[in-house]
Structure formats: structure tokens, C-alpha cells
Amino acid sequence: MNILAATAPVSGPHVDWEALSPLWVLAGGGVLVLLVGLLRPRAIRHWIVPGLAVITFLCTLAAAIVVFGYHPHPHRTFASCLVAGPACVRPAPLAIDKLALELIMLFAVAGIAAVLMSWRGIAPRESGHGEFFGLLIFSVLGMGVFVSAQNLVTLFLGIEVLSIPLYILCASETRREASLESGLKYLIVGSVGSATLVYGLGLVYGATGSTDFATIGTALSQGKLAGGVLGNPMVLTGLGLVIVGFAFKASVAPFHQWTPDVYEGAPTAITAFMATATKAAAIGVFIRFFDFAAIGAQDTWAPLLATIAAITIVVGNVGALGQSSLKRMMGYSGVAQAGYMLSGVVVGTRLGIQATILYLIFYLFMNLAPFAVIVAEEHERPDGDYLSGLSGLGARRPWLAWPMTIGMLALAGIPGTVGFIGKFQLINALVSGDYTWLAIVLVIGSMISLGYYLRVVATIWMRPAVAAPVPAAAASGGGPGELAPIAGGSLEADEWEEGPGPAGVFAYPEVTFVAIAFAAATIFFGIFPQPLVHFASHAANALPGLF
């Protein structure tokens, strides 16, 4: 008998490979891109590597859609188990449910846009194509793990896998001081955030005795804690530190100070990626952790989170008013928008989550169009990032001016764009959930935001064009000899780009494409929002135990 038992096949953990497919496609694609990037021929690195990155994201998108379609039930019907027993009983560390799938699709779209925007930029050339695009894919993988985590340990694993590639990507324009500074700053601040988070997670584990979200949820809601939730300092401190940790990632005030600096310094494509995908991941985790695991303690965290959301809305909008750098302005605008989305989490109802997810999708559209315009402008002129550089864009480049205008008007919440529908839905959720005061704060925040969004539109259409200053490098007559050496740089790092690059609307068709495509989506779904409203409601239904 003993022998038989010993020779019986060891039953490993059951893994639902199919459900996990979006994640392993990303992992495989990332490794592939990294390896192909090692090949010598130039064309491979310039064309095949970014192409493979796009294909990886497309496959992820396809896999997510397929898995999404397989499980029509509104509630989480399965969990893919990495370590649990063969019957796949919970607790499983990951749940690829509809919430996670929708967010993964969102990350993949943001990833495609980031690849297209950085394709012919400086960053991949200086830090190596394989590394640059590979890291981008791994970062998306981290986000996927982050938002589908059902366990404190996987949660932390996810945040690290998503953050570390981003630290490097921020610093990937290795010859620009601002880029290096941005990477370093993000690394330090991000590490503080992670450390705070892990401390908070530890305390929550200590208080509830489990790392599994569902078990934590039961412990919090059934009053198994000594002294109840409110009388238990350990769980209170834990939840507080978790909020702080997430707030760093979502750039929620008062933990947002790094945002404008990092956004300004990072390569613009990466800024766009961080502004959309990272924010979506952080907000997604807010939903996952607070509206699922900690929903039982809603009375405890909701007032705190509501206050933070209100502060964030005000701070972000006021901060954006005086900015002259577009990327900084978008950074502060992103802070304000994080506040709007956080208020959907606070409500803790299905309607609130639906509104938040919907706003995340809309936020992606509204932001990528302006960022693509900034990328296109930066290709053409050294002050492309500055508001003053946009003057006369309407006459100069209508194909870029319109996406920028539409993006700004949408962010301001003008009807006919997704911004209006998004705010409508959020206000609806807030009023229904008895948070009318937060809805008023949201409205007041939107009013303040008019000040800076409209300034951009006015600059584009109503100011005369100024002559583009001569690019600094060309003016100094620099050549390859003047480039600082980079340790471990790519093969092309020392090649000098001839002249200021091609000019014209269609010199960088992929960037213009991103701008126009997302601007068109902004208008289209602003007029016909129903499909996306319906889509977002799936995610809300994925979380059990909500009204």
C-alpha cells in the first residue's frame, strides 16, 4: 500500500490555464520580445520588436475577450487556482473574473497605444528596443496580477511586478536628465508606497488571521475581531496604511506630489501609459480590496476615503490651474480624475462600481488622445510639451488640434463626449448612495477644471502661431561625438538622428492614428454610451455581496 501510494502521481496544483491565458500570453510575449530584441539586424529591432509587442497586447485582448465570453454568469463562478487543491476550492490566489478581465483589456489597449506612441521615439532607441517593450509588457502583466489578486500576497506580488518595470521605463531616455530624475523619484516614492502597503497588509493579516480576501471579508463583517472593527487598533491601522499605499499608486492627494514631476520627466508615451493603465490598476484594486475584502468594514473606511476623494478633487484641480507644462497639467488633472473615480469606490454599491469602471474606460479615451498629440508635437518641436507651443495649432495642424480639443472638452465634461456621460453616471451613483455632498464637490471640481482645460483649447484655436524655435541640438551643431556615453545602452544609442525629423501631419502616422482613434471613440461613445455602460455593469456584478 505504501509503495502504491508513493508511486501514485503527485497531484500538483490545479491550474485553470484557459482562464489564466491573458496573463501567460503576456508573460510569454514579454520574454519573446526581450529575446528577439537581442538579434543584430537593425530592421528586426526597429520593426519586428514593436510589432511583436503590439501582437502580444492584441493576443491578450483576444484571450481576455474569449474568457470573458465563456462565463456569462454575473457572479464570480470560478477561480483559477495556482496552489489550491485539485477541486479548485477557494482560497485561490487569483480570480480572473469579469472585473479583472475588463481591466486587463483596458491595460492592453493602453499598452498598444503606448507602443505606437513610443515606436520611433528616443526612449526605445537609447535603452534598447527589446528591453523597453519587454518591460512595458511585464508591467501590464503585473497590473493583471494586481487587479485579479484574491490574496494579500499576490496583491503585493502584482504591485511589485507592475512598478519595477515602470521605474525603469521612466528613466529610459537615458541622456535626458529630467527622465533620469523622474525614474529615481518614482523609484523612491513608489518604494515608500510599497513599504507602507506591505506594512498595512501585514497588520490586516495579523488582525484577521488570513491572507485571503474572502476570509478577511468574513472576519471583518461578522464581528470576529476583538473589540469590533472600530475598537481594533490593528485592523484600523492596517486599513489606513493600505489606503495610503494604494493612494501612492493612484496618485491620490495628499500622496500625489510625485505625480507632476514624474509625469513631466518620463518619456511622454510612458506618461500616457502611467496616467491611464497604472491609474486604472490602482483604482481597480481599490474596488477589489475595499468593495470586496473590506466591504464589511465600510462604515470605517468610507468616511475616510470620501474625505480623501474630496481633497483629491480640489487639490488636483487647483494644482493644474497654474501649470505651463502640458504633461504636468495632465498629471494634476489625473489626480483630480482619480478623485472622481475614488468617489465611485466610496459609495460601495454596484452602481458606484459600474460608474467607476465606466469612468476608467472613458478616462482612457479622453487621456490618450491629448497625450498622443503631445508626442506628435514633441517630435516636431522641442517645446512640444509646453502650452505656449500649442498656440496656433488649429491653423497649423487641424488633425492634431481636433483630438486635443475633443480630449480637453471631454475631460471638462462637455455633453456629446464621454466625459459628460461619465460624470452623469458618477453623480447618479453618488446621489443614489446618499453621498450628495461628494457629488457637489465633484461638480465644483469640474467647474475649477474649466479654467485649465479651456485654456488649452483657447491656446490652440485663438492664439496666433509662434515660430517654432530651432531645436537646441541642431542649433549647437552637435554631432555624434557630443553624445554622452551610456552604460549598457542599445546598439543605436549612439546613432545621431539626422535633423529634427520629418515634419508634417503624417510624418508619424501611428501617433496621429492614436490621437484620432481615441478622439473618435471619445465622441462616439459620448453619443452612444449604452454598450459600454452595459459592459461596465458586468464588472460590477462580478463582486458578490453588493447592492
Binding site: K423, V443, L450, V457, A458, Q530, V533
Partner: protein, 501 residues
Amino acid sequence: MTLSILIWLPLAVALLAALAPRPLIGQVSVVGSLVTLGVAISFLVRFKLGRAGLQFVTDHLWISSLGIHYKLGLDGLNVVLVLLTTILFSASLLWSAFREWDRPRSFYFHFGLAQSAVLGAFCAQDLALFVAFFDLMLIPFYFMVGMWGSGERVRATTKLVVYTLVGSFFMLAAAVATGVLSANDHQASLNFALTALRGMRLPHASQEWIFLCFAFAFLVKMPLVPFHGWLADGYKSMPIPAVAVFSGVVSKVAAYGFLRIVLPLFPYAAVHFQTLMLLIALVSIMWGTLVAFTTPDARMVVAYSSVAQLSFITLGIFSLRPTGAQGALLQMLNHGLVTAPLFFIVAALAARAGGSERLADMGGIAFRAPVLASLALIITLATLAMPGSSNFIGEFMILLGVFQTKTAISIIAFAGVVGAAVYALRLYITGFHNRTGPRVASRELALADAAVLAPIVLVILVLAFYPQFGLKRSEPSVRLAVAPAQLQSVAPGLTRKVASR
């Protein structure tokens, strides 16, 4: 033919015109606006009299999970205003087509978008749809002032947009709250259609703050004193065709909003704040009249006369009596028909006075331009509500309505009627008569301007003889719209019983 065709036609034409070769853009737009006018007339002809309810209803569920309908319809409240909109936009486009504009494609695109948004706001029968069109209306004007305006245009347009959008955002919050709270109170699913909301009255406390949000948005848009901070810069910088439609119809959307939304949905609050609204209107009449009388700028005379006239309209609406409200509706039509041509006349005067819009630089223009002067005289007499004009009937009904509820206020408001005569005649006399200005080079009305002015004057004359045109169509609907508030003010106990049942 559905109302969708009517409201989207201008935008479609504008997009079509953008494809046309440069010299033809203006002409394509004019033809398109005349077709729109024709469509509006066809609706007017088929409009059945004596019915209070909606006609030509288009109703699709737009966003089902939010209960927002794409619902359009005509009734006595908006059928005449839709006609007014198409008339004034046609006139303004005609006026524009005779002139050269920078970047004409954008110019006519924004004009078309503006017309679609205004028509949409008038026809919308869903609260959320109305708010959407109301906000959307502003965007083309933002661009028109900022790109084709004069003077400090960027500052002016920013001021205009920030003021009005601040109001609009309050309205957005209030509109969502209306839908959500009504649905919660009555255990119904979310529904923003106005007819559905009418059946689900809100509790008094909610009505009060929601009323204030709506009133703020509308008062800023009209604007009434003290919400008129954007007016001077905005009107001064706006290109003439834009200011003609802005003052002619866009400001009316706000007044119309009171009748369409506020009185039927929040009758308790309307009665509660009646005195406040009447006092605001009264102060605004006085202020507008005084400034119109003292300003040295011809365009500002017209601008502030609009403030006074819109205050009269507000006065009529908040008499909360059918007579007053009907007078207000008639006055909306009348005022639109006089204010737009007055702006064109100011432009014509300025063109003859060396480009200056200051009254001091004008004068003596009538000698060499008798036709222009006679057309202007007719319009001026209509503005000052000469007995025999339709404006006289409108103002009379407004004052009669107020007299029935708040006698004291109506007596003071009579002074405003006198004031109108003073500023309107001052504009006419200093512009056309008096000593000839230093740089005046008068000439007869150009055929192009005559083509714009003459048809409008003709409509004014027709209305003077046949004011029942508007009254007959609006009466049943106005009664229906005012009824809840009237009932509330006459017998507050009764409505409570009705509401609780």
C-alpha cells in the same frame, strides 16, 4: 418626417458645407438653413391647435440603464420658438454669407452646431437630454467669440463659458438628483423623461435646492442682474451674427427652461421663491434700463435692453398665472424678432460711422439712408412696445399676470415700460438723426443687408396685426405647464393632498 431631421439638419449641412469649395461654403450654409426653416414651417403647419400635449413625439431609449430617453416633441411652449430659431439662424447665416470670414469651414461648422444644439434644447422632452443640449449650445459660441470676436476676445469668451458652465454644472447635479430622488421616492426605476417626472413630484426640501440650482443656471444664461458679469465683455466681443442669435434665441432657451422644467416639476419651490424671483426680475429691469440709457456704446444699448426684456419675461413666468406666462412666451418671440435685427442695424451704423460702435461717433445717418432708417424705426417702435405692436400685447399680458398676484411689483414694473421707450428712442435718435458724426459717411442700405432685415421686419408687421398667431398655439400648453404652480399658490393644501394620493 421626424423632429430628429429638424434638429440635426443644420449640423449635417455644416458638415456638408465643410466639403464644399471655399467660395461656396457660405451659400451652401444659407441654403441649408432655409431648408431647415422650411422644415420648421412644415411642422408649424401640421401642428394641431387646441391640444396641450406633445405632438410629433420621437421617443427612443437612449441609455437604458440610466433611464435617459432620446425624446423630442413639440407643443405650444416650443413650436413658435423653434420657428423663431430657424428664422434668426437663417437671417444670421445670410448676413454672414455676404461677408468674408477667416477659416470659413470652422465658422460655418460652429454655426451649424449651435443651431442644432439650440433646436435640440427646445425640442428635448427628457431632462438629461435637455441638460446635454443646453451645455452643448455653449461650445460653438465659445469658439465663435474666441476665433472671430473682436477686442479682448479670449478673455471675453473664457468669462462667458466659465460663468455659464458653472451654472450648467449645478444644473447637471440638480437634474441627476431630480431623476434619482424621484425614482427613490416613488419606488420606480430611473426615468428622466419629463412626462414621467411630472408624475413623481419631489418632497419640498429637495425641490428647494434643486430649484435654486436650475434657477441659477437659467439666470446666468439669460442673463439677469446680478448674474450678468459676462454680458458686457461677451456681447461686445461676439461677432455680429453670433450675438444676434445668442441674444435672439440662446437666451430664450433659459427662459423656456423655466416654463418647461421648473414650473411643472418644482411647483412648490416655484411658489416658495416666487417673490425672490420677481424681485430679481424687477431689479434687473431697472438695472438693464438704466445702463441701456447711459451706455455710450450702441451695441451695449441693445445688449442691456435684452437684459431688461428678459427680466420682463421672467416676471411674466413667475406671475405663476397663465396670462403672465403666455405674455412671457409671446414676448420671447417678439424680443427675438427685434433684438437680432437691432444688432444688424448697429453693425450697419458702425459701418457708416467709420467702424466705431460708439453712439457719439454716429448721427445723421438717416439723411442718406432713408430705407435703413425706416426699417430701423419700425424695429425701434416694436422694441419700445408701441401700442399696436405685438410687443405691447406681450408686455401687457405679463403685467396683467403679475398684477393678479403681486400688485405692488407690477406697478413698479410699469416704470420699465416707460424706460424702454427712453433707451430705444435714444438709440434711434442719436444713431440716425442729431448732428452728423465726425467720421460718418452715410450710404443707403446695401441690398445684402436689406435681404436680411426686410423679411424680419415683415414678420414683425404681420405679428403686429395678428398676435394671436403665437397665443393661439401656446394657450393650452401654457395652462398645463403653469397649472401645478398656480394650484400650489392658490390652494397649497390641495396639492399636498393630490401629491400624497
